[in-house]
Assembly symmetry: C2
Homo-oligomer: 240 residues x 2
DNA sequence: GCCGATTTGTCCGTATGTATC
DNA sequence: CGATACATACGGACAAATCGG
């Protein structure tokens, strides 16, 4: 990304994270920052808007922009971002493994169309996988890919990373994802393919993924053993 | 909120929700919308940015802005927003009740300071509550309020809505909240004050709330019985 | 209480770049 | 290649909140 506002956002964020701009202090004023980055008022404000959305600062009208991110607060999880299973594994330096249980082609019935948002009758690639983390089978994924957008998924690709295949080999760009998190009781199938021990409830993340064209290319249900599940988020109060 | 961009955002959103701009179609072009709302290019783009963040549209460079929100997709939960327990109850038309188990003043120890982000030594108001929804005790909240920001919490206020007290009576404005969702095994205390039946895991939402000054005014741990828990979110893929 | 300086918030008009068709 | 449409950036203007004298 070469946008000026993005570079400025990253630079200020880095200064917050390394303590140059400490928790609860104010950033230099807009005017000073405009000087420092020799950019327009407007461009700097865009960088500040990003910092706000991501929970790093809280602008105070007439006073300044206060830092509300603590150095201590290590972001082990991405905030409001999308990360593939493999990316998370690499970041946290834990051994991960993916087991493909099933890979088949199906046609979208009226019910799946209604439930997922895919058009009725199109061809879908269905993948069922189990994720092993540090030796334990903790996550069970059921993915439905739109076959004409994401063709040629093989067992090998599913074992590696379908996201890397989509973005790398196919050159598709993933733009946004909508997620819902609920709790559900473990099914017999969950119990069969996961190491649940005596845990009988799962965190279920249902998501829809759109490419840069706004086409729904994937629906996923990801079922996590609860005791290792973690999700982070920043919310902004809507102005009434 | 009287901002032009916000009004435009709401208007377009309404048109998406009522099907005027259907799922997978393109919005009128920027130029047309600038005409329609007789606003500047810049202001319209701000409204579009909001629509994108909230998961309603996906702009496609050189083509148009595609609608990716389905009419069917009823948002029972606010997306990326903060709602108090009472607001949620009112929206979903379910009888809710709050039981106050404890209300006391404590001083922030070094440990709580590190864990929560409050300064060491300040006075905190601690509240423990149980939420009853449709007759069942489903949620257990433990709140820590900064007493000098949120003074005068009584049992009656805690039974009603502390958020309404904060925003209504005190005139404080809540600006942002950071949340983390994890799964945890029910403790003896959970089992004592909630109707858990045979559910032994809880969804735990830990949040920090900041006012418009960027002051941390509240830390909360909210423990939910899993089978009714739901959380919704929209994530944007970071540009690499 | 008022005024003026500072700082953030909103909006406009314009110019240029880049992707799509 | 040209037309269209989104993306980024600039500079200027005014509004609104804060704070100190």
């Amino acid at each position: 990304m070469k946008a000026r506002y993005d570079a400025i956002y990253r630079d200020i964020r880095a200064s917050i994270e390394d303590g140059t701009y400490p928790y609860q202090e104010f950033l230099p004023s807009e005017a000073e920052l405009v000087q420092k980055y020799s950019c327009s008022h407007n461009t700097l404000r865009r960088a500040l808007a990003l910092l706000r959305e991501q929970g790093f600062v809280q602008p105070v009208h007439g006073k300044g922009v206060r830092v509300i991110h603590r150095e201590a607060e290590r972001t082990t999880f991405a905030i409001g971002e999308i990360e593939s299973f493999r990316e998370v594994g690499k970041r946290s330096h834990v051994a991960t493994e993916t087991i493909v249980l099933a890979l088949e082609h199906i046609t979208a019935t009226p019910e799946t169309a209604r439930a997922t948002g895919f058009e009725e009758g199109i061809d879908l690639t269905s993948v069922e996988r189990v994720r092993r983390i540090g030796g334990e089978r903790l996550i069970r994924d059921r993915n439905l890919f739109r076959t004409d957008s994401v063709p040629g998924i093989t067992k090998e690709i599913a074992e590696r990373s379908i996201y890397e295949y989509i973005e790398g080999d196919l050159g598709l760009r993933i733009a946004m994802s909508k997620r819902t998190i609920t709790g559900e009781r473990a099914t017999a199938r969950d119990r069969e393919v996961l190491d649940l021990d005596d845990v009988d409830y799962l965190a279920v993340v249902s998501s829809q993924t759109f490419d840069t064209q706004g086409i729904l290319i994937e629906c996923t249900e990801s079922r996590h053993r609860l005791d290792h599940f973690c999700f982070r988020d920043t919310a902004v109060r809507q102005k009434v």
